[in-house]
């Protein structure tokens, strides 16, 4: 069974529905103590980094222990950001520091790439939040992104982003280059929403669930 961690940040219906569609059984643990029976853990999230405060020391310790025992962990969106050291969005809130670096705010600014190419001439600024389908650059092989090629598009909706690091498995560019997917051993995370990204998203979720 996969534990879908509910810390009150938005709704989990879509993630649960996508996991059901790929045949992965899932439940939402009521207390951290229940995590012990998980074969995989998903930390989802939409909204504000501050909401991850609800993941108290008890949850943090339980999740870390499970990861040390080799249980696969998947962070989605704010769930990815929480696996880094922290975020500018909520400077006082500690991430889990599974990955090195701080998440920074995307900045609205002229889109150099678009104006240079003369495409969509009206689109002169990058709007924040970054909402919609953007393409991935697969920069190294990973279990999570197996079979997904560079140029594949997935659905993003976020205002903060994690830096590109050695563990980055896929990069996206929106004004800056940021980590779209990271993977280190059994810990993986995506900034986009695989549950909203059509067949590409289901494939990524299946890749992860197959390792559970």
């Amino acid at each position: 069974m996969i534990a879908l961690v509910d810390y009150g940040a938005g709704n989990l219906t879509s993630v649960r529905k996508a996991l059901n569609a790929i045949g992965a059984p899932v439940w939402t643990p009521a207390v951290a103590g229940e995590l012990g029976r998980a074969h995989g853990i998903i930390v989802p999230g939409v909204g504000h980094f501050d909401s991850t405060k609800a993941l108290t020391d008890e949850w943090r310790t339980a999740i870390k222990t499970m990861v040390e025992d080799g249980v696969p962990l998947l962070g989605i969106c704010v769930g990815l950001q929480w696996l880094f050291e922290g975020s500018e969005e909520a400077p006082g809130v500690q991430g889990l520091s599974m990955f090195g670096g701080i998440c920074r705010g995307l900045t609205p600014r002229p889109s150099e790439m678009e104006s240079k190419r003369g495409q969509t001439p009206g689109c002169t600024v990058l709007k924040v939040p970054h909402v919609g389908w953007n393409s991935l650059e697969i920069n190294r092989p990973s279990r999570l992104m197996a079979g997904v090629t560079s140029g594949s598009q997935v659905y993003f909706t976020h205002s903060y982003a994690a830096p590109v690091i050695d563990d980055t498995a896929a990069v996206c560019e929106y004004g800056v280059r940021f980590s779209a997917a990271v993977e280190h051993n059994r810990v993986a995370a995506v900034q986009f929403h695989p549950e909203k990204s059509g067949d590409t998203g289901l494939r990524i979720l299946t890749n992860w669930a197959n390792a559970v």
Partner: protein, 251 residues
């Protein structure tokens, strides 16, 4: 590069798709889930369910429709029409909507935007603005275009953004149903005034209209209903057309 989004709108009444739909050759005529499934295959980027009845009695029927559509597609799903209260929004989201679209309720109770943005995040809150040209401004109308307001679309879009809206869905009442093209000037005025994505709606008749609203209308996404119903391959044909014109789209 971020793609321009193509969004299909399903106008639903009592659980059936209505409005300008040519159902010939479609076996499950009027079934929102069947239509959503077809659009998904064709490559639509998002789906909006607009419940044009949305009375209290139809709330349960709406939840059923949302769940049926959500079961077919793994794409962003927005529900609008009759979302008056936090409870209405919660019911839509619990049934499987990722975003709710507020129109009349946001005008009469702007705090609802903030309440929902705090509860679900701004990405879940779309403010829909129905506007028409009046003298030299874009006048906002409520109740499906029936009641005038004192608001201007550009100012209202700015205020909605400050209150926590994540996207603006801008419909031109003048163009809606005409197939004469989007109101690019109005769309650009609103899009340039806010830093959140603007979805253009009303007037789509040809592929050229979409290219125009992305170029001169500065739209981040375009929404249409009936244009997609006439040809089985029109969503994918539209995308190929836009790609050839240099508009970034998800293929």
């Amino acid at each position: 590069m971020l793609s321009k989004r193509i969004i299909a709108c399903l106008d639903v009444r009592d659980g059936k798709v209505v409005k300008g739909v040519n159902f010939e050759g479609l076996r499950d005529a009027g079934d929102p889930a069947a239509l959503a499934r077809r659009y998904n295959v064709e490559g639509i980027d998002e789906v909006v369910i607009l419940d044009v009845t949305a009375t209290i009695e139809s709330r349960q029927a709406r939840a059923h429709t949302i769940a049926a559509v959500a079961a077919e597609i793994f794409l962003p799903l927005t529900v609008g029409g009759g979302i008056r209260t936090e409870a209405d929004a919660a019911a839509a989201i619990d049934a499987g909507a990722d975003k709710v679209s507020l129109n009349t309720a946001a005008l009469s109770d702007p705090d609802l935007i903030t309440t929902l943005a705090k509860r679900y995040g701004s990405q879940a809150v779309i403010v829909a603005i129905d506007a028409k040209r009046q003298d030299d401004r874009f006048a906002v109308f409520a109740r499906s275009g029936q009641s005038g307001t004192t608001r201007d679309a550009v100012e209202w879009a700015r205020e909605a953004t400050e209150r926590g809206a994540g996207e603006i869905l801008l419909t031109s009442i003048d163009r809606d149903g005409t197939k004469g093209g989007f109101d690019c000037e109005m769309t650009a005025a609103v899009s340039d005034a806010v830093n959140i994505p603007v979805i253009a709606s009303g007037g789509a008749g040809t592929f050229e209209h979409f290219a125009d609203v992305f170029a001169s209308g500065h739209a981040d996404a375009a929404l249409a209903a009936s244009i997609f119903h006439f040809n089985e391959h029109s969503v994918s044909e539209l995308k190929r057309f836009l790609q050839a014109r240099g508009v970034p789209v998800r293929m």
